[in-house]
């Protein structure tokens, strides 16, 4: 690794930590039970929304009602996204006249966006109308993020409250998240991104003449649009002059801002944040990386404020950083070392004052190795899934890091809200294990952890693990699935494992060589995304409902304090051990095997 690599990582962490505390305090005010300056300022708009929607904003929901409201809202969102995609050819703001998408792709995209996954089996600039991008996809970027944050706040209320049934009002939490947190920050971020060169318009695509004309091999298609093959079965091509380039347009910045801030990750363009119109400069890249961790990091502070003990929030944040930093250094070191199979060629992969060096396949010049590797670690630690370089072309160990960060259950920062409630499930498991060691009933935040809480926390921890392992096994036994891989050898298994891991943990990034737009993948990944997202959320809401009803137990000499370095170590170990025990065998067949085979 070079000095520049450390500077870029260090600078990011410093700026992030400076922003997290004010952000967390602000969000704590937004969700406070008592009215304050923020909620009074927007109170008029809130009341209009509640009246139009027929919502009783003073209703304190039980966990079941909260869960049903959340599910009903998300299913309605899914139907809306589906319908927009199926009817976009008749709707306005479609200057490129894109046709409707296929039913299985539409349902996959709809579930992908309501679950905050943003897995994309389509390429935005050649499939989606501006209206679909704005009014279907970007709306769910907001709503899925707000859903995650709302559920987290309800879970935290469960720990903070005593002997009550209610854990808050889903509609109020959703509305406040959108109005006071997501919209204002997105707007400012969108304008900053435009200043760097991200586009924001409603114009049709622009054709420009190219400076140097050339010819390219254009595949021949028959009348039905199928490729024509020659006698050997190779696609036939004919030399075609290349005289113009079509530049895509569209309302990109407004969607990209919320895509980063809400840890959604669904690109406006196919190449996502590697696209120069989506992430044009190193500064826009820095902003996008900050936006990913801003809310998941800030919510740790919010959590500490809401449970009345700030140290609890810092302990969780420390745990996340203890896992995040070494893995970031790992992926950067692997990428900076370059691709070993190219060393024998006449190629210079060494870092110097004139180039970043390293493995540049799939990376953009303006980001080089450091800003690409850091982005990779951030986007997979958080369940964002935006990419500024092609993960499929990462070195074997460089590709292992993002895969494993997702497999840890997306709890290292994780998705907005969902990352922290996932981590709280691990915290419950951690205090339980500590309780077993000394033979006492475990407590967390003054609440006794008993059989019911343990069942819910275990479900939240184990469901994604089980889904990934089982569905990967199904995929590798299915010929139509194994036919979609884009690379040979151990890497082909990595592609399948990455695909299932990404969908199940609601990340959405991809080893893009795999051609995912076939009914098998569209359907199976839809099931993975839906089940993992909602079973986890409902299990955690059930846990919250249960602890909310309990008395507060004062800390005694036998209580394990949960704000100490000892607890941070314990929690880190639990996360790592569950992730390692479940996935090391699978990782050994993919990235580790590829590393060993390409090293010499």
């Amino acid at each position: 690794m070079t000095a520049n690599d450390f500077i870029q990582i260090g600078m990011y962490l410093v700026v992030l930590l400076l922003l997290i505390k004010p952000m967390g305090r602000y969000m704590a005010h937004v969700f406070a039970d008592e009215p304050n300056r923020i909620t009074r300022f927007g109170g008029g708009v809130e009341r209009v929304i509640y009246r139009v929607c027929g919502i009783k904003s003073d209703e304190d929901m039980s966990w079941k009602r909260y869960a049903v409201a959340m599910l009903a809202f998300n299913v309605c969102g899914m139907l809306a996204v589906y319908l927009f995609q199926r009817t976009q050819q008749w709707l306005p703001l479609n200057p490129q006249h894109f046709p409707a998408l296929s039913p299985d792709l539409s349902i996959n995209t709809a579930i992908s966006f309501i679950t905050n996954t943003n897995w994309q089996a389509y390429s935005g600039e050649s499939a989606m109308s501006y209206l679909t991008q704005m009014a279907a996809l970007a709306v769910q970027n907001f709503m899925s993020a707000a859903t995650g944050i709302a559920v987290l706040i309800a879970v935290v209320r469960g720990f903070a409250r005593k002997t009550t049934k209610g854990i808050g009002n889903f509609w109020v939490d959703l509305t406040r998240t959108t109005l006071y947190i997501l919209m204002p920050i997105s707007f400012v971020l969108a304008m900053l991104l435009v200043s760097q060169g991200v586009i924001q318009n409603l114009k049709p695509y622009v054709d420009v003449p190219v400076v140097q004309t050339s010819t390219y091999a254009n595949p021949v298609t028959d009348a039905a649009g199928n490729p024509v093959k020659d006698a050997q079965g190779n696609p036939e091509t004919k030399p075609t002059p290349l005289t113009t380039q079509t530049l895509p347009m569209g309302p990109a910045a407004s969607q990209i801002a919320i895509k980063m801030l809400g840890t959604n990750g669904g690109g406006f363009f196919g190449a996502n944040s590697a696209h120069p119109y989506e992430n044009p400069t190193p500064f826009s890249n820095f902003l996008e990386m900050l936006a990913i961790f801003l809310i998941p990091g800030g919510l740790c502070i919010t959590f500490g404020e809401m449970v009345g003990d700030r140290r609890q929030g810092w302990a969780i944040l420390a745990t996340m950083l203890v896992i995040f930093i070494p893995l970031t250094i790992g992926v950067t070191a692997a990428e900076q070392a370059g691709n070993p199979i190219l060393h024998s060629l006449s190629i210079d992969q060494h870092a110097s004052a004139l180039q970043s060096g390293g493995n540049m396949e799939g990376k953009e010049t303006r980001f080089g190795v450091a800003a690409s590797s850091l982005f990779t670690a951030i986007t997979t630690a958080a369940s964002c899934g935006a990419v500024n370089n092609m993960h499929d072309s990462l070195t074997p160990l460089g590709g292992l890091v993002p895969m494993w960060l997702m497999q840890l259950g997306e709890v290292v920062f994780g998705g907005v809200g969902s990352g922290l409630y996932g981590m709280l499930a691990f915290a419950v498991v951690a205090v339980f294990i500590a309780g077993l060691m000394v033979g006492r009933t475990p407590e967390y935040l003054g609440k006794k952890i008993e059989a019911y809480e343990m069942k819910m926390a275990s479900l939240a921890v184990l469901i994604p693990c089980a889904l990934v392992v089982i569905c990967t096994a199904i995929a590798v036994m299915t010929p139509v699935a194994t036919a979609t891989v884009g690379n040979p050898g151990a890497h082909s298994f990595s592609e399948i494992l990455y695909t299932v891991t990404s969908a199940t943990n609601n990340n959405g990034s991809a080893f893009g060589g795999l051609s995912a737009n076939i009914p098998f993948w569209n359907v199976m990944l839809s099931v993975c995304m839906f089940w993992a997202r909602y079973t986890l959320a409902i299990a955690m809401l059930a846990l919250a409902g249960s602890v909310a009803a309990k008395k507060h137990v004062p800390a005694s000499a036998g209580t394990l304090p949960t704000h100490t370095p000892l607890f941070v170590t314990l929690l880190t170990s639990v996360v790592i051990i569950v992730g390692a025990l479940t996935f090391l065998p699978a990782l050994a067949l993919g990235p580790i095997a590829e590393y060993l085979m390409s090293a010499h």
Binding site: M143, V208, L247, P251, G270, F283, S346, L354, G512, S598
Partner: protein, 192 residues
Amino acid sequence: MGRLIRNALMMLLVMTVITGLVYPLVATGVAQVLFPHQANGSLVERDGKPIGSELIGQSFTDPKYFWGRPSATTPQPYNGTGSNGSNQGPSNPALHDAVQQRIDALHAADPGNTAPVPADLVTASGSGLDPEITPAAAQYQIARVARVRNVSVDQVQKLVTQATQGRQLGLLGEPRVNVLQLNLALDGLQQR
């Protein structure tokens, strides 16, 4: 239950209007006023007509031009409506062969140059539209471009220096050279 579903539908409708129409349209309006050049694609114009974008690379294969990053878009390289990387895995023999072919093409255009080729000049970019190369990749090509164009190395070196951007704010990202702007400047050199 019926009330919940009514609430959900109405909430979705209201939020679609706020976040799906008002927000992007206001953002478009403000962006068009504050940053019209960037919001419309950072187009480069000659004689009032757009001839490219500062941010979107074009394909250059003629030895008289600086070449950009290899592009994996299909069917043509630098396809503006099909951004994509190669997605070739690190141990894929096809990647090894593609890199070898690109090295061979550079050697064929400039047989005298036996220095190792900077990595970015023979590996496909992530978007397939990368507008830039590293300063190392520009230095590698200066002698060839000067020879083919019959101009002095110093003149070309000067244009490369002008087209080079350092780290943003002195710290962020990597130094880089915009290929389209450099090549337009080269063409301008000869017209004078």
